[in-house]
């Protein structure tokens, strides 16, 4: 992972300083890679110039600049938007799990920060709602300058909460959202799947676009444990004695069924679903967001 793109690696991002720096590093690294990638067509237009690259549409060349500086620059237009985005971040106890350096909550925070930074660059209006079984932090959507800093500060101060109850904050927020907009849910979705689905459908019924980032740890996906152990639930403290070898396949089947359920059921109601692994680069999350935003706009 050479160049700025290496900063999309969660483990490297975790070693950076403030969430502000992390978010900026992620987004800049992502955008740099994006400019050089075949996916640049998904890009938004920014109010800036950049050097002409072979293959750019000649119509986008700024001839005035060329006349003044004898250099080719492509003119990027700032898009007028009225998109309002709500970032819903799960801070329940289960999000504190980490098999490696980065907990699911940290990973989700980086992604949230990066999305906020990206929205700020796009002049979108965005807000933050952190929740476990209730809303623990709420920053209403805004496009004002300085709002990004408040969001990032809130992310930095987040603490692990109690049990997960995704449905309740979803219903509360769905009732409060009045404008057409977008909801981004970042959670491990370790709640009753039917309740989660009901809450998300509530948004769709109100015409709000939704993207769900299902954040899971690699150990949750592979269950690579070897020793017999007592497994304690991080939210309920319930303990289950188990021999990994003998239950692994059963567990993996259930996990895959759960992922397949969300992907299928959410897809049926037009909700974008993206399953993320905390060992994977954050690029995938950002890319999913941009694809959804493009569709919304």
């Amino acid at each position: 992972m050479p160049g700025p793109a290496r900063f999309l690696d969660p483990a490297i991002v975790a070693r950076l300083g403030t969430i502000d720096l992390k978010a900026r590093t992620i987004v800049e690294g992502f955008l740099t890679g994006l400019h050089r990638s075949p996916y640049k067509g998904f890009s938004v237009e920014f109010a800036e110039y950049r050097q002409y690259l072979p293959g750019d549409d000649l119509a986008t060349l700024d001839w005035k600049v060329f006349a003044r500086s004898d250099k080719h620059f492509v003119k990027k237009y700032e898009e007028e938007t009225n998109l309002t985005c709500h970032l819903l971040l799960d801070v329940s106890g289960s999000m504190g799990y980490a098999s490696g350096e980065v907990t699911k909550l940290q990973y989700a925070s980086y992604l949230t920060g990066a999305l906020a930074y990206l929205m700020h660059r796009q002049r979108d209006s965005f807000g933050l709602i952190a929740f476990d079984d209730s809303i623990s932090a709420l920053l209403p959507a805004s496009a004002r300058s300085g709002h990004l800093r408040m969001i990032l500060l809130a992310l930095e101060r987040l603490e692990i909460g109690a049990r997960t109850n995704v449905a309740k904050p979803l219903h509360d927020l769905a009732a409060a959202v009045r404008k057409r907009g977008m909801v981004v849910l970042i959670s491990d979705l370790l709640d009753e799947p039917a309740n989660v689905l009901d809450g998300l459908k509530h948004f769709r019924y109100r015409g709000t676009d939704v993207i769900v980032f299902h954040v899971l740890d690699p150990y949750e996906l592979k269950f690579p444990f070897e020793q017999a152990a007592r497994f304690r639930d991080m939210e309920t403290a319930e303990e289950v004695m188990a021999v990994p070898d003998s239950i692994r396949q059963d567990y993996l089947d259930k996990m895959q069924n759960l992922i397949a359920f969300y992907r299928r059921e959410l897809g049926l109601v037009g909700i974008d679903y993206c399953q993320l692994d905390t060992s994977q680069p954050l690029e995938l999350g950002l890319m999913s967001y941009l694809m959804t935003r493009k569709r919304v706009l």
């Binding site: 949750e220 020793q227 017999a228 304690r232 239950i247 059963d250 567990y251 996990m255």
Partner: protein, 597 residues
């Protein structure tokens, strides 16, 4: 009292390795107790029972590993059971009690036991104790122990035997028991003078203390020192070992019945013959002298009355007619013992084949003068006879086929192909003390007159002893063992063909003494006494004389021997390296076993 102890207790340190699997078990058990996990809800239907079974299996595996390590260390520590065995570092007192025949006077052994018990009580409590009973030999009745009741119990069981006395043997055995530690010896004995007369070795190392407790001998003792039959009489010699003249009755018994009695008077420290006349029937007679105060075992002597049966000797020849082969040997042997000593059976080689297994044990000795007519069975018969303890004289004359000798004798015996011809080689005894040459006190006497014209030259004198040589240096008479038997080889003939030896005056005593030597195990003793006559003499030394007679030795030799043994063991320590590697391997196995669970 018995207990488990170890020859190499340091190896018990290896038992610490048993803690490794336990620690691994406990360590890993702690880490596996709880794992925080978010998706426990998906584990709820996991087969927990299987986990419990696996835990049980792990515990059994752990126990087996621990036991294996403990047993390994225990085995290499070389455990053994010993009766309250005292460690080598504890000072040791050896109680040595004389149990020879000279302690058999009435009441004498009681006094010895009492003295020994008293000596045990006087031994410091810090000392271990060992008990030794000695006569001709020294036997450890109780190994070094701190259990004094075991010592006193063993003392109470000591009885006088019929053996002689050897003080040096007792002292040597005591020294051996004490070894290099601090030691003390208590001798309980009648201090009999004859106990020092044996040509044995032994003393006490420097620094080993000694106490001598004298159990006084009887003031006098009578002993029947010899007895023989002279026609219808028994003549017995009675020895008075006392310092006063004494008259004592002497009785003759046969078949448990008293046949005759007589009284003999003996001067102080003198002897007298007793003649007892009676109808001597039965196989043996018994002569007894009345001696109430002296040693009891020497008051009786037995005399064999039956004429000894003739000892069967087989002479194997190669002469088909049997007319001349073996003639001289047969005639020489039949005159021995007034014609009653040997029963000579001359047989042609072909008749040997007919011997069955029952015949052979009855033959006391075999003279093989010819082998040419022996067939395979005959050769096997002689070879088996020899290997099973038979006594054979082989005269390697012209009737002996050297090519088949290995088959006949079961051992390699190589001669030159052609006999050595001389103008008349004389025979000279190499070992004139050998019983065969007993009649020839002067080697240059009758044996030196023997002239041999032809003899066979032995290629290899190997493992055989040369008893006589011809004047040219070749072996004339050799002796060797074959299997359990004995083989004497005369390298010329005894049939007057290669020499005129059979016509020489030395031939008869040579043949007879050779036959007697070969048949000595078949010869009964004519007069039997239960004890060594020297043991009958109660003359004793004083404690001072006894103590002065003890030779003091250094422990250097003992220490050197121990150090040498230790050096050898040090050089053979590779097995200990193997042990260490084995422990490491087992510990590694335990570790891997834990990781794979």
């Amino acid at each position: 009292m018995s207990g488990l102890t170890f020859l190499s207790p340091l190896f018990l340190i290896g038992a610490i390795a048993a803690a490794v699997p336990i620690l691994l078990h406990l360590f890993h058990r702690k880490t596996e107790v709880v794992i925080d996990f978010p998706a426990v809800g998906l584990l709820k239907r996991a087969p927990v029972q299987q986990h419990r079974r696996r835990r049980l299996r792990e515990l059994v595996l752990l126990a087996l590993r621990v036991v294996a390590l403990l047993l390994l260390a225990l085995s290499f520590a070389r455990p053994y059971f010993a009766g309250a065995a005292a460690p080598d570092t504890v000072p040791l007192t050896v109680i040595a009690v004389d149990t020879s025949m000279s302690m058999s006077a009435p009441g004498q052994m009681d006094r010895a036991r009492a003295a020994a018990t008293k000596a045990v009580a006087a031994v410091p409590g810090s000392h271990a104790l060992a008990l030794l009973g000695f006569g001709d030999s020294a036997i450890v009745a109780v190994e070094p122990t701190t259990d004094r009741s075991a010592i006193t119990s063993a003392i109470a069981r000591l009885e006088a035997g019929a053996t002689g006395t050897r003080f040096r043997t007792a002292l040597a055995r005591s020294s051996e028991i004490i070894g290099t530690r601090e030691g003390h010896v208590v001798i309980v004995s009648d201090l009999q003078q004859s106990g020092w007369e044996s040509n044995d070795d032994g003393g006490l190392p420097d620094g080993v203390g000694i106490d001598v407790i004298s159990v006084p001998p009887p003031v006098g003792n009578l002993a029947v020192t010899s007895a023989e039959r002279r026609d219808r009489r028994i003549v017995a010699s009675i020895q008075n070992f006392g310092n006063t003249e004494i008259t004592a009755p002497v009785r003759l018994f046969t078949g448990g019945k008293e046949l005759a009695t007589t009284e003999v008077t003996m001067a102080a420290r003198g002897a007298a013959d007793a003649e007892l006349l009676g109808s001597l029937t039965g196989s043996e007679a018994e002569i007894r002298v009345d001696d109430a105060t002296g040693y009891q075992a020497d008051n009786v002597r037995k005399v064999l009355l039956d004429p000894s049966p003739a000892i069967p000797i087989a002479v194997v020849v190669a002469d088909p007619t049997g007319s001349t082969g073996g003639l001289y040997v047969e005639r020489a042997l039949t005159v021995a013992g007034d014609g009653h000593e040997f029963a000579v059976d001359v047989r042609d080689g072909r008749e040997v084949t007919k011997w069955n297994g029952a015949d052979q044990p009855r033959i006391a000795a075999m003279f093989v003068l010819g082998t040419r007519t022996l067939d395979r069975k005959g050769r096997d018969a002689i070879r088996n006879y020899l290997n099973r303890g038979g006594q054979v004289l082989l005269a390697a004359g012209p009737d002996v086929d050297p090519g088949t000798l290995a088959d006949v004798l079961g051992t390699k015996l190589s001669f030159d192909e052609e006999p050595v011809r001389t103008a008349g080689a004389t025979m000279i005894a190499s070992d004139s003390r050998h019983p065969i040459f007993r009649p020839f006190l002067n080697p240059s006497g009758p044996l030196g007159d023997v002239q041999v014209e032809q003899h066979r030259r032995l290629k290899d004198e190997g493992d055989r002893t040369v008893l006589a040589r011809f004047s040219g240096g070749d072996a004339a008479l050799t002796e060797q063992t074959v299997g359990d038997g004995r083989l004497i080889v005369f390298t010329s003939d005894l049939d007057n063909e290669w020499s005129r030896f059979p016509l020489n005056p030395a031939f008869v005593p040579f043949a007879v003494e050779t036959a007697r030597y070969l048949t000595k195990s078949h010869r009964p003793q004519r007069s039997v006494a239960a004890v060594d006559i020297r043991e009958s003499n109660p003359a004793a030394t004083t404690i001072g004389e006894f103590t002065n007679a003890i030779e003091r030795t250094t422990r250097a030799g003992l220490l050197e021997a121990r150090n040498a043994a230790r050096d050898i063991e040090d050089r053979q320590r590779w097995w200990q390296v193997g042990l260490v590697l084995m422990l490491v391997a087992l510990a590694g196995e335990a570790l891997l076993g834990r990781r794979t669970t």
